[in-house]
């Protein structure tokens, strides 16, 4: 691990918080490729064979990180991307550029550690290209401050080349959201596949916006986008799932489940399906409302209280 001189303390603080929240000790493991960003600076970097990471900080504080993975590279241990902010307030702007070659297999584990901030705007923009026959998994988990002063924006644009595969999991379920805006816009070429899943738990006056777009441009391409939001108290949540069937035999499915519990909750979902090729096929499923009565009563008939049953159901949904 290459810890940048002068930033050892910040590095250690972030790693300690991460380990406390996850019990995962990977960040100090020299065999694990790692990028650790604190505020507007890179404080730790570790690469592995076939992977090249370059970072720079622009004068206005924008942190730019380029991740290139060579053709035919298989990275057996997940690559860790850790972004944190240790000051009480401010702004963190990050730009990730991923260039993933052909026949690559890699998994990224991203974590945003924003547990100590009163007021923060965290903006992360990612551009990712996934080469032919490559297999990429991206898991993104967030840990925010419980006072709700965090505003996270994460905007991802992606192109998946022929036979490529991408799966993402975006989870913000363990801590308060604050305000969050997630956008994923994915273009798929011939035989490419994508599977997007987001799960967010809103509390108090959290604001949640999710937009997932599948552009099925390649023949036989397919994609699934599933969003699950559990909105409590006076959470506001708005989910838009879009799928465009632009090529023959392209198939897309979008699904949104929003479960509400609380008098001040306001949630909505808008599915958009557009077929531009007669051989494309798109479907959607959506549900907005309280936890299903038959689920609650099934568990209550086994001795759980209504609150225990609801917690059990929600924990399953958000797991």
């Amino acid at each position: 691990m290459d810890i940048v001189k002068g930033y050892e303390e910040e590095f250690n603080q972030l790693v300690d918080i991460y380990e406390k929240n996850t019990e995962d000790k990977s960040l100090r493991n020299p065999a694990v490729a790692t990028i650790i960003v604190s505020g507007n600076k890179v404080v730790g970097l570790n690469s592995v064979k076939g992977m090249h990471i370059n970072s720079k900080v622009r004068g206005d504080g924008l942190v730019i990180i380029d991740v290139d993975i060579e053709d035919n590279t298989v990275i057996p241990i997940p690559v860790h991307l850790c972004t944190g902010f240790l000051k009480k307030q401010g702004e963190q702007i990050l730009k990730f550029n991923y260039m993933i070659g052909n026949n690559v297999k890699v998994k990224f584990k991203s974590h945003c550690i924003l547990t100590k901030v009163e007021k923060l705007h965290h903006y992360m923009e990612s551009d990712m290209y996934i080469g032919k026959n490559s297999h990429v998994v991206y898991e993104d988990e967030h840990f925010h401050d419980e006072r709700g002063g965090v505003f996270v924006e994460t905007i991802t644009k992606m192109k998946i080349d022929e036979n490529g595969y991408f799966a993402s999991k975006f989870y913000e379920t363990k801590t308060r959201v604050g305000r969050i805006n997630v956008v994923m816009d994915i273009e798929l070429k011939d035989n490419a596949k994508a599977n997007l899943e987001s799960k967010i738990y809103g509390r108090e006056d959290d604001i949640i916006d999710i937009k997932e777009i599948l552009r099925l441009n390649g023949e036989n391409s397919s994609g699934i986008a599933t969003s699950t939001v559990f909105a409590t108290d006076s959470t506001k949540a708005h989910v838009i799932n879009e799928a465009y069937g632009n090529a023959p035999y392209s198939r897309g499915h979008i699904e949104c489940n929003e479960i509400v519990k609380g008098e001040g909750v306001s949630v909505s979902t808008i599915p958009v399906l557009k077929v531009n090729n007669e051989k494309a096929e798109l479907t959607h499923e959506a549900s907005v409302g309280r936890i299903k009565q038959d689920q609650l009563e099934t568990l209550m008939s086994k001795g759980l209280t209504e609150d225990e049953a609801a917690e059990f159901i929600v924990n399953g949904l958000l797991s």
Binding site: Q295, E297, S301, K302, N315
Partner: protein, 238 residues
């Protein structure tokens, strides 16, 4: 003893149950038989105390304690349980966690319960209780769950529905197992092979107990008369 006294229940101005009285003892098997729509499942839901099935008139007693207004959770804690005809699905919940809702239940007991319903523990413990389980598998998991609860009274609502015909023997075996353990089993069914396992049966027609008595006689009467009767859905229509 579980007793229903002159129970009446209506929904949307329709009288569904029109004054039913029944008695069930622990360690015995009872049948509730009748055509579709006569109110059999409704009786089960009323005993369990589901939110949409609160009675308009009449009283329910569990060992002389009036439980008519008792919430569903408390009824369960007092030993009443329900095997649902179509059990709910739960995303993200494993079979193991579902069967161990009660933290006192041990893994060995869970494995034994799965064996009883002909599901191999190694294959099923980590499966999810979601849409990916077939109807039959889900039903078997639910039967295992009811066995693990060790209730004083178990209402089995169409225990064979959704299950392949080869598994009828398993259902019969489970009923015997529960009886031996002292559970009062109330089987809602219109399948002869299941109904005949009970000692005493109630034949329901149009929301009323039309006939009651030893199960062999009731089942014979049902087969002879009710199969050709036009009273299907009579309870809901009237």
């Amino acid at each position: 003893m579980l007793t229903l006294e002159n129970i009446k229940y209506s929904k949307n101005s329709n009288d569904i149950i029109k004054g039913i009285s029944m008695k069930f003892e622990e360690g015995k098997v009872y049948g509730i038989v009748g055509n579709n729509g006569v109110g059999k499942s409704t009786i089960g839901y009323i005993i369990m105390g589901l939110s949409d099935y609160r009675v308009n008139e009449g009283e329910i007693f569990l060992n002389e304690r009036n439980i008519t207004d008792m919430p569903i959770t408390d009824r369960a804690k007092n030993g009443i349980s329900l095997l649902w005809q179509e059990p709910a699905r739960f995303e993200g919940m494993s079979v193991k966690n579902y069967l161990m809702l009660n933290k006192k239940i041990k893994l060995k007991e869970v494995e034994k319960a799965l064996d009883l319903v002909n599901l191999e523990p190694d294959k099923y413990l980590n499966r999810l209780v979601d849409k990916k389980l077939s109807g039959g598998e889900r039903k078997k998991v639910e039967i295992a769950s009811c066995v693990l609860l060790n209730p004083k009274f178990l209402i089995m609502d169409e225990p064979d529905s959704g299950i392949d015909i080869m598994s009828l023997d398993m259902i019969v075996k489970i009923i015997d197992y529960l009886k031996e353990r002292g559970t009062g089993v109330i089987v809602i069914t219109h399948r002869k092979e299941i109904a005949i396992k009970s000692e005493y049966s109630y034949l329901i027609c149009a929301g009323k107990v039309f006939l009651e008595g030893k199960s062999d006689k009731i089942v014979k009467y049902y087969e002879k008369t009710c199969d050709t009767c036009g009273h299907i859905n009579y309870a809901e229509e009237n």
